[in-house]
């Protein structure tokens, strides 16, 4: 693969950036026709910036996209100023990446800077990898997007973050904490498919206090079963109790392999490492329609008993 082309455009304009993008496209040989979405990333810190671009690049192998990163430069500057960096080819895979830094009065008008870079017709997804607006759909960037992705895991107080998603919810919102536990949900669902076909009478979700994926998992269970759902802090496991058996899915905190066990049956090992952000992001980009199940899981968190 050719090395990535990186172009710095200090103190520039959106027109100039677009021209340069066209030029780069000819040089690197990328085409915009195959793009399926525009992903707008709004990171709050430099550390999360590179991590997010990396995740977006990885996800772009499944969803070829244009990635636009919007950051606040020097918000206190007197003059409005736009600095840009373009990346294409190389490790950016199927994407072209535009990093925009907004300074001065411009910092408050990020959507106006982003609009010229949105590709025609194709959907726009906004992603806040750390700090998310209270109501994502009302945020200027959120208003451009059909899908708004947050990540409670990187919030200052993850539990408070995931709980705040409900009051701020608009159809089209999702949180990466939710995609982080998709395979846990799939395995539990598969286990419950099997006889005895008895209702689940209660459930327990336990793990790190700072893992909001578990809170939303507990919320999901609370929205699906008639019975108490408890969330504890401790070893990582989920227990589903039926009259004649208990289904347990557990994993050492940092382990790669989980154990699925059921009363009076052989326990089974299953590879289940913690999902990385890029996998979660790729899953979230797979469907852009509102996720009603996520919404009911958020509602369910209120019914979870914290022990």
């Amino acid at each position: 693969m050719a090395a990535a082309v990186i172009v710095e455009l200090p103190d520039t304009s959106t027109n100039e950036i677009n021209k340069k993008l066209d030029e780069l496209r000819e040089k690197v040989g990328a085409v915009t026709l195959g793009r399926v979405l525009t992903l707008v990333i709004a990171p709050d810190s430099e550390t999360i910036l590179e991590e997010s671009i990396e995740a977006a690049n990885a996800a772009s192998h499944e969803h070829p996209s244009r990635v636009i990163v919007v950051m606040t430069g020097d918000a206190d500057a007197a003059e409005a100023r736009l600095d840009a960096q373009l990346r294409a080819g190389g490790d950016s895979g199927a994407t072209e990446v535009v990093v925009l830094r907004l300074s001065g009065p411009l910092a408050g008008h990020c959507s106006s800077v982003v609009v010229p870079f949105l590709l025609p017709d194709i959907p726009v997804v906004a992603w806040w990898p750390d700090v998310a607006p209270r109501v994502p759909a009302q945020d200027p960037l959120g208003q451009l997007a059909v899908r708004r992705i947050t990540d409670a895991t990187n919030g200052a107080d993850p539990l408070a973050c995931i709980k705040s998603r409900l009051p701020g919810y608009t159809p089209g919102d999702t949180d990466l904490a939710w995609s982080r536990i998709t395979y846990w949900r799939a395995l539990l669902t598969m286990a419950i498919d099997l006889p005895p076909h008895e209702p689940i009478t209660s459930a327990l979700v336990s793990g790190l206090k700072t893992e909001p994926a578990l809170d939303v998992l507990a919320g999901w269970l609370a929205s699906r079963i008639d019975g108490p759902v408890r969330r504890a802090v401790g070893e990582l496991k989920v227990e589903l109790v039926r009259n004649s058996e208990t289904v347990t899915l557990s994993r050492p905190q940092d382990g790669m392999t989980a154990t699925l066990s059921r009363t009076a049956r052989p326990a089974a090992l299953v590879p289940l490492p913690r999902r990385e952000t890029r996998e979660c992001l790729a899953e979230d980009l797979r469907r852009l329609d509102p996720d009603a199940i996520y919404f009911s899981a958020l509602e369910g968190i209120d019914r979870v008993e914290y022990v």
């Binding site: 070829p64 995609s179 998709t182 689940i200």
Partner: protein, 517 residues
């Protein structure tokens, strides 16, 4: 209606964690064991075993999954597991991950024996019982017959005798078979009978790997999810349809399978007939398996060969020639083929579909070995515009519009139409508009076998042709096979070309031409 395909009725147990709206949730197969017969054969080695690893890698196999090999080799579980390990490393689509392999390896077992050895099947039953108890495979067993059909009766009989074909309460037993499903209508019926004597039709999964391909499933999305194409998908606008499956490889080393079978039986009867059915069928009421089958059966039962067969069909046999810079021998020079073999390596037929939608539209099907390049495509060639306000010089270079579904390689769809050549004169020339899977969905699509094996384990029968489809396809093809058997021998064509002269002649008679795919 089959239990596997029936709608969940009221009062049936519903998993509270399942919800149709929960589209994220992947369907993971329930506990089960897959037994492969013919595990040392090419099919098992290159397709089935690697696909099973890929499924495991994608997290779609149950934690309690077990893979059992059955064969003559003097292997123990460990030797078999090592063999599987090699195959996974060599042929799997997804990257090798130790943590996935460790889990898969735990469930590998090998049972040594012949297909007619009763005690071996008793050992197989014992092995499966043990897996049920120790690993928790739940009595659910899939038997993959990756063996020539002549061994089917022996294996099926032994499975029956050992009590392996009958599911216990609440579990399932399924059998997977591969083409050829017979060599004519009569033998297909017999084969179906042999299979159905042991396994009821709803637990028989016939693999036509074409139906596992994304591009083939996309035919339905293209036709029924869009408003754009349906209005022109009929005899008013379509002049004719060409379905081509061309291979560049020869038949060296495959004489045992191919000699006496030929291209029509090997490819047209199954793959191309299925492609025709999906292209020509009416819209199903829903994508429920039985509804889909109803439509496919309907269109196949309205399909027949165009007559006279001498003019509407063609067969050929490749002779020595240069293909892609390499000199290759003809079929008669290939190892294992007799010097006077009349096996055809190229076959083309013309079909008529007697329905309001397709009356008068010929469907041309062709397939062959050692052709120009490896390609499979379906091309709908449209009628010319009824009136051209241009004079002839302006449209000299305008061909017929075409919609081409590129099944493989370079999966995608091409639309071909006329466009003005830039300049001061009005001249129209053909141009292409292109959709390519590779650039719109950059992730590699799953192999057809992954999809199909998972569907077997989930008991999801949509993508498997049923008995009746197989028999109808033979019914359509048999007259051509009989005609060829009675008259002469296949016409030679040079390796690396697009088939014998008679195949071009068969279209030219009606003023048409094959596309060069």
């Amino acid at each position: 209606m089959s239990p596997a395909g029936s709608r969940p009725g009221a009062g049936q147990w519903q998993n509270p964690l399942r919800d149709k709206r929960d589209k994220r949730l992947p369907r993971i197969a329930g506990p089960c064991a897959v037994v492969i017969f013919g595990v040392t054969g090419d099919l098992a080695r290159k397709k089935v075993v690697p696909a099973i690893y890929d499924l495991a890698n994608r997290g779609l196999l149950p934690p309690t999954f077990a893979l059992v090999g059955f064969g003559r080799r003097d292997w123990d579980d460990e030797a078999f597991s090592n063999e599987v390990y090699q195959l996974v490393k060599e042929h799997s689509r997804t990257p090798f991950r130790q943590v996935i392999w460790d889990r898969l390896a735990e469930g590998c077992r090998f049972v040594q024996g012949n297909f007619d050895d009763e005690s071996a099947f008793a050992r197989l039953a014992e092995t499966l019982d043990k897996l049920d108890a120790e690993r928790g495979t739940g009595g659910n067993h899939g038997f993959y017959l990756a063996i020539p059909p002549k061994s089917f009766p022996a294996v099926l009989e032994q499975l029956d005798k050992a009590g392996l074909a009958k599911p216990q309460d609440g579990s399932w037993r399924r059998v997977v078979i591969e083409k050829p499903f017979g060599h004519d209508l009569d033998s297909a019926r017999k084969l179906n009978k042999v299979v159905n004597n042991v396994f009821p039709e709803e637990s028989v999964f016939r693999i036509d790997h074409y139906l596992g391909k994304e591009t083939v499933q996309n035919i339905m999305a293209l036709r029924f999810a869009n408003q754009l194409f349906d209005p022109i998908w009929n005899a008013h606008y379509v002049d004719h349809v060409q379905i081509t499956m061309a291979e560049d490889i020869g038949l060296g080393g495959r004489a045992g399978y191919y000699d006496g079978i030929g291209a029509a039986r090997d490819v047209i009867q199954n793959h191309l007939m299925q492609l025709l059915a999906l292209t020509a069928m009416e819209e199903p009421v829903s994508f429920h398996p039985s509804e889909l089958q109803t439509e496919k059966i309907k269109v196949l039962s309205a399909t027949q060969l165009a007559e006279p067969l001498d003019e509407t069909s063609s067969r050929g046999q490749y002779s020595a020639g240069w293909q892609g810079g390499e000199h290759v021998v003809g079929l008669l020079g290939e190892e294992g083929f007799s010097k006077d073999s009349t096996t055809e390596t190229f076959a083309a037929i013309t079909l008529e579909v007697d329905s309001r939608r397709w009356a008068g539209v010929p469907f041309y099907l062709r397939t062959g070995k050692r052709l120009g390049r490896r390609v499979t495509e379906i091309a709908l060639v449209f009628k010319r515009a009824p009136h051209l306000p241009f004079d002839a010089t302006m449209t000299d270079e305008l061909g017929a519009n075409a919609l081409v579904i590129r099944v493989q390689p370079d999966e995608g769809i091409t639309l071909r139409f006329g466009s003005k050549v830039p300049g001061s004169t009005m001249e129209v020339r053909d141009v292409n508009m292109d959709f390519s899977y590779g650039s719109a969905f950059a992730e590699e699509s799953p192999e057809a076998y992954e999809r199909l094996i998972l569907d077997v384990l989930l008991g999801e029968p949509s993508l498997f042709p049923v008995n009746e489809e197989v028999e109808l396809s033979w019914e359509i093809l048999d007259p051509a096979l009989d005609n060829w058997a009675e008259h002469g021998k296949p016409e030679p064509y040079e390796a690396g070309t697009w088939g014998p002269a008679s195949s071009f002649e068969m279209l030219r008679r009606t003023g048409r031409e094959w596309r060069r795919p």
